[in-house]
Amino acid sequence: MLDDRHSTSVVVRFSPAWEKIEPLRQYVVASAGGAGEKVAGRVGIVLQELLENAVKYGDAVSHIEVDISISSVRKQAEVRVANRAQMSRIALLRKEYEAIGGSTETANAAFARALQRLQRLPQGSTMLGLARIAMESELTLQINGDQVIMTARIS
């Protein structure tokens, strides 16, 4: 996490429930205001999509761990979400992550591709989330068994 005497930290551990996402996003965006409107906005997008992924594709009973640190001095933030994923989802997650590539340009292209393929997906499925996170941050993915940790660095 960000090492900064002036950083704000938010650590939350909660059961996977959709209705808990929006209040947490609002609280965190308000807490990130000191880092500037742009960073706070990006934190909101990234947190929402990470948590939606965790709730949709995660183990239904295990807790989701969220660590957020926000530096008002450096105008940076880091959002880390850890949870247990459904094993059937792991390979797809890895494939989606690799498709995003390592830069904003490749993330933008991945998001554009995801928009194009939406019509071929069943209703309710978008596959847009990861590409959207990567457009707004530097995203890293760690997988250890069924444990998934996604870290998004925002500046």
Partner: protein, 126 residues
């Protein structure tokens, strides 16, 4: 009766979408899990009314829409696809009015504009 007046507003927890004349106004937060059950059918009704009225441009005011999740982005993409599938004479253009200081609107709507081509334009409001 104006073009879209017969389309009843969509009022859900945290979000309100209204259609009047040639303007659709979205207010609040679009972050539901399954917008395909509510938002998409609403936009479909707007689309049908717009084509029946022969509109050539429909403004979508997003200046008071504070957030939209990726599931809701799909509803917008579906809307663009419906327009594309219409015969040319019944097609119309969506003009999204956004707020310049809202981060997600700038990045997401830029991608939607690129996707929508001639059917989508984006303009910063106040």
């Amino acid at each position: 009766m104006s073009s879209l007046a017969r389309v009843e507003p969509l009022v859900l927890d945290g979000v309100e979408i209204t259609a009047q004349r040639d303007v659709v106004a979205m207010k609040g937060v679009l972050s539901m899990r399954s917008p395909s059950e509510t938002v998409t059918p609403f936009l479909r009704r707007v689309h049908v009314a717009a084509t029946e009225a022969g509109l050539k441009k429909l403004t979508v005011d997003m200046t008071e829409l504070r957030f939209m999740n990726s599931s809701s982005i799909r509803s917008l993409v579906d809307w663009v696809e419906w327009i594309r599938k219409e015969p040319e004479a019944r097609q119309y253009r969506l003009l999204f009015v956004t707020k310049p200081d809202v981060t997600w609107q700038q990045t997401t709507m830029s991608a939607i504009r690129a996707f929508g081509g001639e059917h989508v334009s984006v303009q910063n409001g106040v």
